[in-house]
Amino acid sequence: MSDYNFAYLDEQTKRMIRRAILKGLAVPGYQVPFASREMPMPYGWGTGGVQVSAAVMVPEDRFKVIDQGADDTTNAVSIRKFFERTAGVETTEETAQASVIQTRHRIPETPLNEDQILVYQVPIPEPLRFLEPRETETRKMHSLEEYGLMHVKLYEDISQHGAIATSYAYPVKVEGRYVMDPSPIPKFDNPKLSGCPAIQLFGAGREQRIYALPPYTRVASLDFEDYPFDPSKADHPCDLCGAEDSYLDEVITDDAGGRMFACSDTDYCRARREAGHAGPRATAQHEEAGA
C-alpha cells in the first residue's frame, strides 16, 4: 500500500463517480457527464476506465486488466500495477477468477458471470460524434431519439461498398432507446454485450462521460432487415489452441507473406492449450518469454 488513498482517488471524487455510475445503471446507454479528474496517466490511455475501476473496487476484489484481449500488453501491465500499488488488490489473468475486469478493445471470450464487473476504457463515447462533431447537437439528437443520421451513414456504406463498413466500435441500441458506442471492440464482440450476466460500465475520462449496461440488458447492433448485422471474424482457427470461435490476431511471421492467427484473448488461449487443445502450429516454444 502507499501514502495515497485507497484506489488513489479521494473520497469526494469517488462519490461523484459513484453517483454517475448509479445514474448510468438507471438509464442504460445514456452518457452521464462526470467531472473526470486528471489522473497520473495520460488522457486516452484509460483514465476513464481507471476512474470507474477505482470507484467500484473493494479490497476483496481480484482485478484483471486486458488491452487488445491480452494481459501482458504494456498499458495493461501499467494499469494493473497502478492498482496493485494504490489499492493493494489481488490481480489475476484468469477471466473466471476476476471480480473486476478492466478492458480496452475486447470482451473476454470466457462468458462472464453475475459476480463480475466489466469496465471498458472508452476514447470517444458519443456514437454520433463522427457524423456530428458538436456535443450541443448530438445531445439534442439523443434527447429527441433522432438517430436517422446514423442509419443514413450505415445505408450509404451499403450502397457504396455492398456492406456496412464499420468493423469496430459498431453502434448499438440499448433497450430500444439510446444508441450507444460499445467502445472500439471488434463487432465480433457485439453479441456478448446483450444479455450479459455481469455489470458493464463504460468510462471516458477525457470526454467526461460514464455509461452503463445493467446485467441482462438487451443490446442490439444497428442493422437493416435486408442487411442483418454480421459479427464476422477471420475465417481461420487459432494456430495455437485450435479454437474456431475466438477472435484472432493476425501475426506476420516472415517477410514473404507468411502469417499465422492466434487468439487475441491470451487467457482463453492459454486455458485451452492447458486443457490439451492444440492448433496447427502449437509447440511448447511460445510459452516462454521473449521481448
Binding site: 488513498n5 485507497f6 484506489a7 473520497e11 469526494q12 469517488k14 462519490r15 461523484m16 459513484r18 453517483r19 454517475a20 455510475i21 448509479l22 445514474k23 448510468g24 445503471l25 438507471a26 438509464v27 442504460p28 445514456y30 452521464v32 457527464p33 470507484a55 467500484v56 473496487m57 473493494v58 479490497p59 445531445r139 439534442k140 439523443h142 434527447s143 429527441l144 433497450e175 432507446r177 439510446y178 450476466p197 455489470i199 452503463a212 449496461l213 445493467p214 446485467p215 441482462y216 440488458t217 438487451r218
Partner: protein
C-alpha cells in the same frame, strides 16, 4: 450539536464506503435483489442501510431532503457532520429520505430533463419490511422477472412511463437495501 451526531460514521471510510457502494450498485443494477449495507449506526429513525447510503453518496454537492419523521435535529446534525450535505426542499433535492407516506407527493422531485435525464432525484424509502415478493419487476438488470415488496405499484408504473426521465429509488430496512431504477417495468405480482 449532540455528541450523537459525531458518532456512527464509517470506522474506515475509504474501505467501508467502497463496500457499501458495491452493495448499492448491486441493488441498482439488479432491481429486486436485496443486499446488505452495514457499517453505519445513524440516529433513529434513520436505518443503518439508509445511513450507509448517505455516507457513501452524499457530500456538499448533494442537497438532501428529509421527509416527515426523518426531519429531526439528530438526523440533520448527523448528516451535516458526516457528509456536509446541505438540507433542501423536495424540489431541489438530489437525495430524499423518509417513509413512503412522508415522501409523497412524488411529483415534487426532479425527473431530469430530456437532454440531461441524470439530473433527477434519488429517493431513499425507509421500509418496515423488505422481501423478494410482491410487485413483479421486469427490465434491465433482471434476467426474466423479479419480485419486490414495493409500497405500491401505480406510482412506480407512472414513473417508469417517464423513461428516460424519472426518479430512482432505494428501499431500506434495517441493514438491507434494494433498488428500483426508472427503467424497471412494474406490475401487480
Amino acid at each position: 450539536m449532540q455528541t450523537e451526531a459525531l458518532e456512527g460514521g464509517f470506522a474506515d471510510a475509504p474501505l467501508e464506503a467502497a463496500r457499501a457502494f458495491r452493495a448499492a450498485m448491486g441493488a441498482m443494477a439488479r432491481p429486486g435483489r436485496i443486499e446488505t449495507l452495514d457499517g453505519a449506526t445513524p440516529p433513529a429513525p434513520l436505518s443503518p442501510a439508509a445511513g450507509a447510503l448517505i455516507l457513501t453518496l452524499c457530500d456538499p454537492d448533494t442537497p438532501v431532503h428529509l421527509a416527515g419523521a426523518h426531519d429531526v435535529p439528530a438526523v440533520r446534525d448527523w448528516i451535516a457532520f458526516h457528509t456536509g450535505a446541505p438540507a433542501a426542499g423536495a424540489e431541489a433535492a438530489e437525495f430524499a429520505v423518509g417513509d413512503w407516506g412522508a415522501l409523497q407527493p412524488l411529483d415534487r422531485y426532479r425527473i431530469g430533463t430530456a437532454e440531461y435525464p441524470d439530473r433527477s432525484t434519488t429517493l431513499i424509502v425507509e421500509m418496515t419490511r423488505l422481501e423478494t415478493s410482491g410487485a413483479l419487476l421486469r427490465g434491465p438488470g433482471i434476467r426474466d422477472s423479479a419480485w419486490l415488496s414495493l409500497p405500491g405499484v401505480d406510482a412506480f408504473r407512472r414513473n417508469a412511463a417517464l423513461f428516460p426521465l424519472g426518479r430512482d429509488f432505494f428501499f431500506t430496512c434495517g441493514d438491507k437495501v434494494a433498488a428500483l431504477p426508472r427503467s424497471t417495468q412494474v406490475e401487480d405480482g
